[in-house]
């Protein structure tokens, strides 16, 4: 009857019950949710999904939550055919999966957090917390407000101001830690297990991470129940990228689609690219790095799912590319000017990498290529300082308008 069988270590295969735990006691490998696909296959259908709620919960059969109570509006974001950007890059079937308009906090994190906080409620926690590069903190704070949970979010102290306000407005306790995200992460992972809180990306992580699969489910449904030929997605810890692949494979496993021939391409900022570096050097292990990039939301020097991301690339026949800070800004502007979508630096990284891949012939011009835009540019306005044209200032006179505006058109 139950769709979830339990948790299992990805490294050594040891099994664990459904509890708020994330690490194998034996080898420290990450725990992952194990499903009864036979059971799910019997219950799921395209019809049932299409008649489900217009949110990620239409895929509840493939999520580790029994009773969704929080984040009921998350997901089901637009898949936009990117005609103009496609023309610029020589791609006739380019699509943007636009999670910059996810609800309620404008990033893909609303997916993972609605799953995580619903699960935290099922477990009976009264307090939730997270270590975050900003977007996760925003989403956890918002969903805790919805759910009536106490909330603590831990962020690197040097985050963009807008992202800090984007958490503070929901009135959680915001802890700004001096150091990088990796430092925040280490601190949280040391304190998490003693506190009795639901740390969404620590002890709730096996459930939380599953929410990212809905990025794959939605795209497949929006493409008319077909997996794309290629995907370009940003990578920080490598979790989202890995889970998109898992989602695609699951849809085949439970009979929603017949085949998956998707090539998975990963995007990292050059100033923090431990996974891309490992790929280029042919390594199957990650050397941690010290991040130095404007793409703060993906500045993770020690990516927990890095090796699984590499595995995904090998399995799917994909590749990795990186983008410099300058290329990231240029790509943010390119996406805005061609498609009217304002993304943050992580999205800029994805588009810059998409462009590089297209230029080096990674895609056939007719292939269906999906680029994942995971966050919203209005949250990181300050990175654009000095990179945009200035408003034309005029007096409220016809003369000034004619001279300073019309004359220059």
């Amino acid at each position: 009857m139950a769709k979830v069988k339990g948790l299992k270590c990805r490294e050594c295969g040891r099994e664990y019950p459904v509890e708020p735990i994330h690490v194998c006691e034996f080898c420290f490998g990450p725990l992952e949710v194990v499903y009864d696909y036979e059971e799910i296959r019997r219950n799921i259908s395209r019809d049932k999904i299409e008649n489900g709620p217009k949110s990620l919960w239409r895929y509840v059969d493939l999520l580790p939550v029994e009773n969704p109570t929080v984040g009921l509006t998350a997901g089901f974001t637009p898949l936009k055919k990117a005609k103009k950007l496609g023309e610029a890059l020589g791609l006739r079937n380019l699509y943007i999966k636009d999670d910059s308009v996810n609800h309620p906090t404008l990033s893909f994190k609303d997916r993972v957090v609605s799953v995580a906080i619903s699960k935290a409620k099922e477990f009976g926690f009264d307090t939730a917390a997270c270590a975050s590069t900003g977007n996760l903190a925003n989403s956890v704070a918002a969903h805790c407000a919805q759910a009536g949970l106490n909330c603590f979010v831990f962020i690197p102290a040097n985050l963009e101001t807008q992202k800090i306000y984007g958490s503070l407005v929901f009135n959680p306790t915001v802890v700004a830690v001096e150091g990088t995200y990796d430092d925040v992460n280490r601190l949280c992972s040391e304190i998490a297990n003693d506190l009795g809180w639901a740390f969404v990306n620590i002890n709730i992580r096996p459930y939380y991470a599953e929410g990212s699969k809905t990025l794959a489910f939605e795209v497949v449904e929006q493409l008319g129940w077909k997996a794309p030929d290629a995907v370009v997605a940003p990578a920080a810890s490598g979790s989202l990228y890995t889970k998109i692949w898992k989602g695609l494979k699951e849809m085949k496993e439970v009979g929603l689609i017949d085949e998956v021939n998707t090539r998975m391409f990963g995007a990292q900022a050059e100033g923090c690219s431990p996974i891309a570096q490992a790929w280029k050097e042919g390594r199957d292990f990650i050397k941690p790095v010290k991040p130095n990039t404007i793409a703060k939301s993906i500045a993770i020097g020690n990516p927990a799912d890095g090796i699984y991301a590499l595995q995904t690339t090998r399995e799917s026949g994909g590749d990795w590319e990186t983008a410099t800070d300058e290329e990231i800004i240029e790509a943010m502007k390119l996406l805005a000017e061609t498609e009217g979508i304002f993304t943050e630096t992580a999205g800029g990284t994805t588009i810059a990498v998409l462009k590089k891949l297209a230029q080096k012939g990674a895609f056939d011009p007719d292939e269906v290529v999906v680029a994942y835009i995971t966050g919203n540019g209005y949250k990181t306005l300050e990175v654009l300082d000095g990179h945009l044209s200035q408003p034309v200032r005029i007096e409220a006179t016809l003369k000034d308008f004619k001279e300073k505006v019309l004359a220059k058109v």
């Binding site: 420290f28 490998g29 995200y181 989202l240 020690n302």
Partner: protein, 92 residues
Amino acid sequence: MAITVRVPTPLRRLTNGQGEVEVEAKTVREAIEKLEEQYPGFKERLLDEKGELRRFVNLYLNDEDIRFLKGADTELKDGDVLSIVPAIAGGV
């Protein structure tokens, strides 16, 4: 050299529930050996069959990842704190 080792929850069964233990060691490698002597089971949790640090184990010496230092050969001094931390996810 007496150093403090911070033990994460998954390993506290080995230390009778203690979150911090002390060992005498000159290098990280030696610290792991000493942990094994005092709390049998530690070594196989931290090192793989080849004696390398397992890939999901992070060791921090006074807040710095030992992979940025000399790895298992990193030297220790009196009063150092060595933290054992499982890898965790996040970002984007």
